[in-house]
């Protein structure tokens, strides 16, 4: 009664549907098909080196990103006074010489740094790079109207920065500031491009240049950025040194396994931040070399000795027992494939590491003895206890695979000496959340936390992470001493080293700091978190640095 015979309609419907889909599908293809002529005119004739990134830079203006993947790009299109080579020595870029006491670059009281700029440097549009650009950069960093990510070290250490003529910069610190070499003017902004924007808009937050820095200073100049796909750089003809390779193509490959596949297929010349587990498979290929690069990052255990931590951890003997019970050499040999070692301090593999400070050895018997001495005795379930409190520790880390693997191995090792461990994992945006944002680690909701830390201005060793004033609280919601460890003696040493400009004196102070931290066992080094790069055998002259990986990109060559 209701089955009307209406075939044309259904056919029309299916047809319309398919047509609609085809239109949706094909519409965007048309402009793309037309684009290549405009985008890549001399495409096939040029040489290209491809770098794969697992994360996309937030911005290409260093003012607006502290992202690691953005930072390592600046050597390509936006150099600073100097960068650091693969021996972690400063290599001059825009500066003519490295300031020192001998050449008068450092004043006697250590507060004033004078930098002479090279006079043949030009922006990629031909404008000269002068001291005015540096002053402008400083002003932009300090201006409240700009939502700058970090003002370190200008705020709070710098008193003034002035130009003396076109090619001399005079930087005055409030008090002697040891980490200046690695922290001042890692980049410079083009005043002639950005000053008009600042004038017109009152901020450079939304400047077109932040995303399309078509005017820069470096061996390459920015060409295009297609979100989610790639960033392209071409040789800068106005640079003092002509790069060998025509273009650098940075491709975003968010999935690490797909990145490895791309490297294996030869679709990527340089692989960045590879996981240790992928190294053997890539080495087998014979077409890429793996470069383990010390980058100042050290994976370590932070023990929570604060109110929210397990009471046992307040006892230094228990902390030392944890060090004895945890076979870190085995982790390094087996899980990290022998590519890393056990760090003695957070400053391992740097000039501030000293041979006389050695990591605690693996010695489970000593661990048992110390735990017994501390009054933690084995209960019926094999877990130690004292005054009715079980020795069950919360061991937190974030989602990196090798950390998760280490967690379960450590759990077994601690269990051997009667310490129970509950594993907790948070994604990075929760794990690293500040006290003010309710972060579980910052608030002390853990007993052992494992992450990889680096001194703030690496390769400089300066850090305030273990000082009393950095303990988070309602008054200091952004403090970063998440161990809640407080020792006025250690504070004094940390303050002293930051003011000590003389290298040898500073190294001696670090010797004391490290010994104290080791004896007190407030940080237990697990592995030297070297960055893994893969370099295709197609390329020559690639020397990766742990600070500025692409510092010599102009020297790279394609065979």
């Amino acid at each position: 009664m209701y089955t009307e015979h209406r075939p044309p309609r259904i056919r029309a419907l299916v047809f319309a549907l398919v047509l609609a889909l085809l239109v949706t599908a094909c519409a965007p293809a048309a402009p793309q098909g037309a684009a290549p002529e405009a985008a890549a005119p001399e495409a096939s004739a040029s040489s290209v080196a491809t770098i794969s990134f697992t994360q996309e830079p937030d911005s290409l203006n260093p003012l607006y990103t502290t992202m690691w993947f953005s930072g390592i790009l600046t050597d390509i299109y936006l150099v600073g006074l100097w960068n650091f080579n693969d021996a972690v020595e400063p290599t001059l870029q825009l500066a003519r010489e490295l300031p020192s006491a001998e050449n008068g670059g450092i004043s006697e009281d250590g507060r004033v740094i004078t930098v002479h700029l090279r006079e043949d440097a030009a922006w990629s549009d031909g404008e000269p790079v002068t001291a005015a650009d540096f002053i402008f950069t400083y002003e932009m960093i300090m201006d409240d109207r700009n939502m700058v990510l970090t003002r370190a070290p200008y705020d709070p250490y710098v008193e003034s920065i002035v130009a003396d003529g076109d090619y001399t910069l005079v930087i005055t610190f409030k008090e002697p500031y040891a980490p200046w070499v690695s922290s001042i003017f890692n980049y410079v902004l083009p005043k002639h491009i950005l000053a008009p924007v600042m004038e017109a808009e009152g901020t450079i937050d939304n400047a077109e240049w932040n995303r399309n820095p078509t005017v820069g200073v470096g061996p390459y100049v920015f060409t295009e950025w297609e979100s989610g796909s790639h960033i392209l750089f071409s040789r800068n003809e106005n640079h003092w040194q002509q790069a060998n390779i025509d273009r650098i193509f940075v491709r975003m490959t968010p999935d690490d396994a797909a990145q490895v596949a791309a490297i294996k297929a030869g679709d990527s010349d340089i692989g960045v931040y590879l996981s240790f587990a992928d190294v053997p498979g890539l080495q087998e290929l014979g077409t890429v070399s793996i470069i383990p690069t010390p980058s100042g990052f050290m994976e370590g255990f932070f023990f929570n000795v604060g109110e929210n931590g397990h009471p046992a951890l307040k006892d230094v003997k228990v902390r030392q027992a944890l060090a004895y019970a945890f076979n870190r050499d085995q982790i390094n040999q087996d899980l990290l494939l022998g590519l890393t070692g056990t760090p003695a301090s957070p400053w391992d593999l740097s000039p501030f590491a000293s041979p006389d400070v050695q990591p605690w050895p693996y010695d489970p018997e000593m661990a048992v003895q110390l735990l017994d001495e501390a009054g933690w005795v084995v209960g019926a379930d094999g877990i130690r206890e004292k005054d009715g409190v079980k020795l069950n520790l919360r061991y937190a880390t974030n989602m990196r695979d090798v950390r998760l693997d280490t967690q379960v191995v450590a759990q077994d090792m601690f269990r051997e000496v009667g310490i129970g461990v509950e594993l907790i994992n948070h994604p990075s945006d929760v794990f690293f959340a500040a006290y003010s944002a309710g972060g579980p680690i910052a608030s002390g909701e853990y007993d052992i936390a494992s992450w990889s830390s680096q001194p703030n201005a690496y390769p400089d060793p300066d850090t305030a992470r273990w000082t009393c004033r950095e303990i988070p609280s309602a008054e200091n919601p952004v403090g970063d001493n998440w161990s809640y460890y407080c020792n006025p003696q250690l504070d004094e040493l940390f303050d002293l080293q930051a003011r000590t400009v003389d290298l040898d004196e500073r190294i001696a102070i670090y010797g004391q700091i490290k010994q104290m931290m080791l004896d007190e066992m407030i940080w237990l080094g697990v592995w030297q978190d070297n960055d893994m790069y893969s370099v295709s055998s197609r390329l020559e002259g690639v020397r990766i640095s742990g600070v500025d990986p692409f510092w010599n990109i102009a020297d790279w060559m394609i065979k």
């Binding site: 396994a257 053997p280 509950e422 994604p427």
Partner: protein
């Protein structure tokens, strides 16, 4: 596992009034259904495979202890299958065989529990909305649409991140499980009921204008009975198809969430996180993904075949 699907559904069919049973006095609808199900060869095969898998994951736990499944031996990591470790060892030297046993329990538990959650929500919302219409329909459908408007994987990610780390570990059947299991069950259940609700509602909309429903209403049958005894049995086919795909889907969702790093947390194993851990060793250690992958595929396949068989078997209109 299959138990819940078979039992609850056959039950409601058994309650189905015998007036249109075509088989005469000897064949009750239940028997008819069983006869039809038996004829569906793939469904029978699915049942057998499922039974074998259940035997494996439950029986296996009597052979290998959970502490054995979690025991690491880094000196023997990524070892290919041997007599001692028939399925090889993983990246920290754990026995893959024992982990597939305990991981299977978790994956199946997650699959069933999540579908129970989504079935409850979906059928309730769909039935009420489709039958009553009007304001109830409007409100419920706005809510369904609100949930639907958010791509389920997006919602899954957001909710996993929101609830993640907030549930402590707990004990069940003598096993200590990471709290992430509860989070995942809840999150998968609460993000997957909307298809069901829409399908049930669409069927109800169509069915409620049929003569037999109108007749029942004219006879003064209570609303609840019209829904439960007349319309629901007639909409079973799509519900069963959707629910079976749902169990399979939940097991797969668990794998996706694991892939995105928000899945079941260590040391608790699941097939999903085993697959995720194998992801970086796709070429170098195929035994890592082969076994959990095989079990996942077999489970999803057999559940689907069973559901398919049930669909044909339970549909009173299928004549075979």
């Amino acid at each position: 596992m299959t138990g819940f699907v078979t039992d609850s559904k056959t039950q409601s069919v058994l309650q189905f009034p015998a007036e249109d049973a075509q088989g005469g006095a000897v064949l009750t609808p239940g028997r008819l259904a069983w006869r039809r199900f038996r004829r569906h060869r793939m469904a029978v095969a699915g049942t057998l495979i499922m039974a074998a898998l259940l035997l494996y994951v439950i029986g296996g736990s009597f052979v290998w202890s959970e502490s054995y499944a979690n025991r690491t031996e880094t000196g023997n990591r990524l070892a290919a299958p041997t007599l001692e470790h028939p399925f090889g060892t993983d990246a920290v030297g754990r026995d893959v065989l024992a982990r597939t046993v305990y991981g299977g329990q978790i994956s199946l538990l997650i699959g069933v529990s999540a579908v129970l959650v989504s079935l409850t929500f979906g059928v309730l919302v769909g039935a009420l909305s489709g039958y009553y219409g009007g304001i109830i329909d409007s409100v419920l459908m706005r809510f369904t649409e609100a949930m639907f408007s958010i791509p389920s994987l997006f919602l899954l990610i957001v909710m996993s991140k929101f609830f993640g780390g907030r549930v402590p570990s707990f004990d069940v059947f003598g096993r200590t499980l990471s709290g992430s299991v509860i989070v995942i069950v809840g999150v998968i259940g609460l993000t997957s009921w909307m298809y069901l609700a829409r399908l049930v509602r669409a069927n109800f909309l169509s069915l409620k204008q049929r003569d037999f429903v109108l007749a029942a209403e004219c006879l003064g049958v209570r609303n609840r009975d019209v829904i439960v005894r007349h319309i629901l049995p007639n909409s079973l086919a799509p519900i069963i198809v959707a629910a079976t795909l749902g169990v399979a889907g939940a097991i797969l969702s668990e794998a996706y969430v694991s892939f995105l790093g928000l899945g079941v947390q260590p040391p608790t194993a699941s097939w999903g996180n085993m697959l995720e851990n194998a992801y970086n060793y796709l070429e170098s250690a195929p035994w890592l993904w082969f076994f959990p992958g095989l079990f996942t595929v077999l489970t999803v396949l057999s559940i689907n075949f069973i559901g398919d068989g049930l669909r044909d078997a339970l549909d009173p209109r299928t004549l075979r």
